[in-house]
């Protein structure tokens, strides 16, 4: 799991949550919890039949640092664009961005490309 995903799930866990709040998929939720637990970021407790996921001191420290990063970024964006609070939603990519008009370099010279030309003849 990469660091962005770790922070994402630490934010979701917050001050503690039940297992199902992490993911409705039980297998996946355990995968996340085990990964975070191995990193020393969460502890697991069973209370009245419920599984509680609680952040450790290390996790709280990570979230504090994350909050600092966010405030630095928001400060910079605010200075450049005073009215800017959130990035604008982008329109979906066009076909051109997904399927270029011209053949990519890794296909040029490929012997199988001639199939089309032979078909046209």
């Amino acid at each position: 799991m990469d660091y962005v995903m770790i922070i994402k799930y630490l934010i979701r866990i917050g001050d503690g949550c039940v297992l199902s709040s992490i993911s409705s998929n039980n297998h996946y939720a355990w995968h996340i919890v085990n990964t975070l637990s191995n990193l020393g970021l969460v502890t697991v407790r069973r209370v009245s039949g419920r599984i509680l996921i609680l952040p450790t001191t290390k996790a709280r420290k990570v979230l504090e640092l994350y909050d600092n990063i966010v405030s630095v970024i928001e400060g910079e964006i605010g200075a450049l664009h005073p009215n800017h609070t959130h990035p604008e939603l982008k329109a979906e990519d066009t076909i051109e961005s997904s399927i270029p008009a011209e053949m990519p370099s890794f296909i040029k010279g490929n012997p199988w490309v001639t199939v089309l030309k032979s078909r046209r003849r």
């Binding site: 076909i95 051109e96 399927i99 011209e102 053949m103 199988w112 199939v115 078909r119």
Partner: protein, 191 residues
């Protein structure tokens, strides 16, 4: 814009089919029609068809685009019933992917499944797989359908898989590994 409008050459190609091709694949005689087709489909997105990868009682979503299935045990199936790319090799395989498959998708958009992807070329195999994979990727994007290839070796760096699903056996248990997230799901084996 009516996407079912056809351009008549020696055979009928839909706008979407024509726009899926590269400029170099089209050739001079169809260049004008190809440019019109690209413009026509530029902002015209079909609603995505989402399939499912099914292993016993486990179901994972199969998004549109090119995905890879590495399953030498025969556990994985795809739902809804996919268009099975017929057993053909070499030039016939490329022709099928470029001409026949898009035509089928013009009529009925469903997931596409290619069995034995790495056994489709008797010569220039690596170049063939790269080109075939690129065509399938374009098909998946243009028609917004999941395209899954069953593949034994997943080493072609040129092909950017949306997802890869791998059946892994470890200590008597069976797992479905999903990349790029690298998540393992345990598969319950039925006797």
């Amino acid at each position: 814009m009516n996407m079912q409008r056809y351009i008549l050459v020696k055979e009928k190609l839909s706008m979407r089919h024509l726009a899926m091709l590269y400029k170099e694949e089209v050739g001079e005689e169809l260049l004008e029609e190809w440019m019109r087709a690209r413009e026509a489909v530029r902002y015209s997105f079909l609603s995505p068809v989402v399939g499912e990868v099914v292993v016993n009682d486990l179901r994972l979503s199969l998004p549109y685009g090119l995905s890879c299935i590495v399953d030498s045990y025969g556990y994985i199936s795809v739902l809804p019933e996919p268009i099975m790319v017929k057993d053909c090799i070499d030039h016939d395989f490329i022709r099928y992917l470029l001409y026949d498959l898009p035509k089928m998708l013009d009529e009925d958009r469903r997931p596409v499944l290619v069995e034995g992807f790495d056994e489709r070329f008797t010569k220039n195999a690596v170049q063939g797989l790269i080109y075939a994979g690129d065509i399938l990727k374009r098909v998946g994007i243009m028609y917004r359908v999941p395209v899954a290839v069953k593949y034994c070796i997943n080493t072609l760096g040129y092909l950017k898989w949306v997802n890869t699903y791998i059946i892994v056996k470890r200590e008597g248990r069976t797992y479905l590994q999903q990349l790029p997230e690298n998540i393992y799901f345990e598969v319950r084996d039925y006797e």
